[in-house]
Symmetry: C2
Subunit: 218 residues, 2 copies
């Protein structure tokens, strides 16, 4: 993996999931505002687009993200990640296994894996993952979870792996500090970021909440 | 491409699209019966499965198809085709472009392209396709088309390309002879094959209808 990718992965705090139907603005405008607001990662998650359109969108985002110190990650699809020269691909437990995604994208591309139990987090590294998603932390309408595992689950899963961890599910500016305190390196949000009235300000508010946490810890 | 793949592609007449929801039996049993009945190609088309399950199904079919002089083709997904060692991948006009699918699967794997107009059929070869689908020929509930282009469309599209042609859309044992007479090398069916009470007998009935056409032509 390139040292730039590694660096961003190691210091990432804010991970934006971009899904058009949750955006209040044009998706591309929302993406630009998120990047300007300082997100470290944009994950393109579109499950209902035709593949040709998905690839075109990934390529447009590639050109945009290139202008920022941030990563572009494609949800679910290693083929789209490869063809769009994305920085990474993110798979869930029911998607292509991380080992198989790795075979498609090669050694230089980040592979992320969603985990929901300590055992899954523990085995993620040996399965070839470069970071793990941890969730759902709270109830979230985005994926239809009625309840999450809370900060306790974040703590258990993050303790089970040495990989960078990204907590996800119902995370907001208000609760993200507690999630970081529980052990997550980064937090991810979809509706609270790309669905904000002003995604740039939303990203900044998340960062400030994190920094307040860092200062209190120091 | 291996000479065996090329040979089957050049002589294929009967192309079965396998979709679980159209099957009256377990999908794997239906696949075995189709192969026993003499289909030249099985295309796995599942748009609603999780990717992990789709890959597992493709691999199970790979082991089954290996026992017959037939090809396994995966609909839409070059990544799944690559990982399952399928013989080919089939893309539509809104899917990943055939040039991009080729980049993922390499030179030895068949790439098929759906075409709906002579211009699309004409450019298919230069875009890296190894065969073209031609349709919809007739109205079909499988894909929700209320009308098709008929035998005239088959004739125009098949005349526009030197690649092997597979007509698709509402094709049955009763009308397949006319479609072949219009110029299609092969015919594809989903509901009329995997959805038959006895897929083996259905495949045989298709082949007999074709042979009758061949004899009449001779």
């Amino acid at each position: 993996m390139s040292s730039q990718r590694k660096d961003i992965l190691r210091r990432m705090r804010l991970y934006a999931v971009l899904t058009e139907k949750h955006c209040r603005r044009a998706w591309f405008e929302a993406a630009g505002m998120l990047l300007k607001g300082g997100v470290d990662v944009i994950q393109l998650r579109e499950k209902e687009l035709a593949d040709g359109e998905l690839l075109a969108r990934a390529r447009a985002l590639r050109r945009l993200v290139d202008r920022f110190p941030a990563l572009l990650i494609i949800n679910d699809r290693p083929d789209i990640a490869f063809l769009s020269r994305a920085d990474g691909v993110h798979v869930g437990q029911d998607d292509l296994p991380p080992e198989e995604a790795r075979r498609l994208v090669g050694p230089d591309v980040i592979v992320g894996l969603s985990t929901h139990a300590p055992e899954q987090a523990r085995e993620a590294e040996s399965r070839g993952a470069d970071y793990v998603g941890v969730g759902p932390v709270f109830a979230t309408a985005t994926k239809g979870y009625a309840a999450g595992g809370g900060r306790e689950m974040v703590a258990r899963l993050c303790a089970a792996t040495c990989l960078p961890t990204v907590a996800i599910g119902g995370i907001t500016v208000e609760n993200c500090r507690g999630v970081a305190q529980a052990g997550a390196q980064a937090v991810a949000a979809c509706a609270a970021l790309c669905g904000a009235e002003n995604p740039c300000e939303a990203a900044r508010a998340f960062r400030e909440a994190f920094e307040a946490h860092d200062e209190r810890d120091a």
